[in-house]
Symmetry: D2
Subunit: 296 residues, 4 copies
């Protein structure tokens, strides 16, 4: 039996509650709901082994922002969403040595729209490493940031994680931020939530099913994972509808995904929010207005 | 109650059989299965009013080709698929006045991958009207063909069918071929079948839900419809799984689609098969090899 | 002998001055330099036959804005440029019947970067015709605007101007705004100027060399032309360098163009300025901030 | 004074002959003209220091293929061009340890059309490393090939050559093939020639002006360079027209390029020829027909 798949800690917790019918607190797990300029933020902390086993997620902090209004036309939702992403990322990034290089890795396949969130965040991230090195007199106040889109194995012959590892060994960053599309279990979360975690990327997660993962264990430095659920696997939807834990094979093994009709524009908008938020968190000295000029 | 949606006559017939439990022939409908170079071809003919009512489709011929191997790597599947599309289209197009202009209209939204089949067929169609007019001494043997991608209302402010009608009134073609993405009911037909029909495009059909339709009644000339099912609406899938005729609202009215993971490359491949097959049917004097040079 | 080619009235005037060595005013032509929020604006008015003959341009007003800073990072240059384009277009559009439909036509070839300015302005124009018709109670205050990208003959078999004419006959607009890439004579104007004219598009102009033109004579309504010089023909550059009026054949008739290295991003930025400016001019009730939300 | 720029050994030799008026052989340089299935092939060998000084190119073999007919519609030109590229690359690659990994690096900026040849060759290269590793029983006969598009510094913060070096250190290939767009001096060579060299990529060459180069010295393994001239710098054209060695500043330091009008489709076609030819040279057991199925 294949398990119903979710990459979101929030959903793993819901699934646990459904399975167990539990109403009491989950042992080894702390959860908290707050808001940031009106944007709902849920934080799940997996504290110990019991929590890891209950949720099937390694210990660490998982922060989920709900960006409901982005598709709509609320006037300042883009700016608020950017600041909320920046604010929560700032907390996860705190403690980094000042002036240390941060490497952003956009994972996923540019040619498959719901898997393109990583490469598109890469395009919306302010890179500064070359400026800091070439003109320290002008750019010495910036944190050096490098960024790459690690393409998928079918187009490179190399696992994304191998590529990222190779570049890490060469550039020696103090932290890696890995951005990826996720599978969700819930239709209503599609393209509406962003999960930030200080646990890195676990093997087997992501729309492209990364085989090796990117974690502090494999890279030697902290790895912040930024994930956006852009698909529900059709088999997961079917299992939910049929109230079963067995995943039906809907179509002879062919992979079928459920996505919003306007996935192309939603991925573009979300990548911009995340790229800008990440750039703000990495460069506290630059305002959002300046970022908009630099990245447009 | 919203009905489960299918744009395929083949599926409308299956739905009728399920609903009625009928095993006998459907009155007013003829169906036949053949093959073309190994490619399965199903022909449904809606003959009269009883057939129209049973299937909810106007009378005419609906030819469905099943292109199973296209995603695979069978050596000559592309060529066989092109010839099968060309062969069946030739039958539907027969009787056109020689030398009369044919207008190809690619419907749908270029920016939404599963809806882009129409614009992409337009790009893969050999246009000749300007050549025949400017250099009749060289190109007089070709049938004049014009082609356009009729964008969607949200980007033009105009219904696709109004645009096509405007161009028809100006160019006075003897026939219109309208190409569009369809909604299917069956996951296994996604991106694997092509439906050809001599009935034109019915209002309310297509991924983009055309409001007015393109038929002989509205355009004054025969309209051949070429459709490819590229999506199953998530609500249709849910109704099928739950064995109900009621369409559940899965997500507060947001449109959710089920597509194959590799929809981008599948739409590209299918558009090439259809564009080449259509061009062969319209220009019997040009070989497939020559077409490949002219269209690449 | 082929003439050195320019589509800009400003340059036609310079060429006349060079040829004649004239320092006095050109008969039948008025010229004036002003600024708009710091943006230089040159207006050339061709008043009569003498002016037409001297400049080789039909009588009318030609307004050229110089957008030097756009490529740079001046903080409010985008907003100022949009308002300047909107302000000058408002003057050219004045006198249109209120509530009358305006049709925007983006000319040129999407697949050739320096010729893609028209299709890209089309993408950045707010279309409203369908909203005004479907929900007059909500959108009745807007001017109905329709927009289309008229593809080139090689991909449609139809002249762009025929397509625009067909749509005009159907939709009966009160004015057409035609947007196109232009050939310039001057390297320093490439992607840095926008020419607005109330004369329509003359046959033989534009990067794609339109054969028939779009003017009040052919369309029956006023035609505002918006043009951006994105190329200098290599032969024109050579003739200028060699101080000759003869255009050398640099490469066996193959067309060679001089463009800025960053033509892709410049065309994208300019199309946004023009699309937003045009939308502001057409909808005086909508602020730039609202437009940014509606068009992003 | 800035020198007129050419990345082609063929042109460096012509420039030397012009400068010196020499009609005799160039010391330390051997040149030879042959054909391959009708395709002209020029080979320049820089033999020693005198040759290096005369041509300003490091010693090694420079093979230039002239692909005149590619833009035209000669029936088998694509196949012949692929086989010619494959044949000449096979010679340059000979002596590699069987079964040793080859790394293909597509250099240049995807977002600037004439600089996109490297990334596009990457997309047209058959990668096999993952297949050979995961299913040696099926793919053990293939040479392992990995490929990457090394983006430019402005989008990554890292020099392309640093990225390639990092990946080399990790993957330990036996050879690197680096593909790049070149600057030419001659309009007639634009998009019509391919230069293959066993010298690697020299610092300062390429449309993007690589600062560090990729050579056996820096990577520790042989580096085959594949280059296509896609631009003439406008200043080089001007100097040639004015018969001067001084490069004029045509436009206040802004970079201006001369390209064919149809550069988008030419870059696409050339990338396909090179990717297919390279894949054939690396996998002698796979036929061109099979490659077309695998790479389409």
């Amino acid at each position: 039996m294949r398990m119903r798949r979710t990459d979101l800690a929030l959903e793993a917790r819901e699934l646990w509650q459904e399975r167990t019918g539990a109403v009491t607190a989950l042992p080894g797990v702390e959860a908290r709901d707050t808001t940031w300029e009106g944007i709902p933020v849920n934080t799940v902390k997996v504290l110990d082994r019991r929590g890891e086993e209950a949720l099937g997620k390694p210990r660490g902090s998982y922060v989920t922002l709900t960006l409901e209004g982005l598709a709509g036309r609320e006037e300042d939702i883009f700016q608020r969403a950017v600041r909320a992403v920046a604010g929560e990322l700032t907390k996860l990034l705190q403690g980094l040595p000042p002036g240390g290089l941060v490497l952003v890795a956009g994972l996923g396949n540019r040619a498959i729209t719901p898997d393109a969130i990583g490469p598109k965040v890469h395009e919306n991230t302010l890179v500064t490493r070359h400026l800091v090195r070439q003109m320290p007199e002008h750019f010495g106040d910036l944190r050096p940031v490098a960024s790459l889109a690690a393409e998928v194995m079918g187009t490179t012959g190399v696992e994304s994680s191998e590529l990222v590892r190779a570049v890490c060994e060469k550039l020696q960053p103090v932290c890696v931020v890995a951005v990826d599309a996720l599978a969700s279990r819930s239709l209503k979360r599609l393209c509406r939530t962003v999960q930030l975690a200080d646990t890195g990327i676990t093997p087997g997660s992501g729309v492209g099913n990364h085989r090796m993962g990117l974690t502090r264990d494999t890279l030697g430095v902290p790895v912040i994972a930024v994930g956006v659920p852009t698909v529900v696997e059709a088999a997961t939807l079917a299992a939910d509808l049929l109230c079963t834990d067995d995943l039906p094979d809907l179509n002879e093994g062919r992979e079928l995904l459920v996505t919003p009709k306007d996935i192309d524009s939603q991925v573009r908008d979300l990548a911009k929010v995340i790229g800008y938020g990440l750039s703000m968190a990495l460069q506290p000295g630059i305002s959002l207005k300046e970022l908009e000029l630099l990245l447009s």
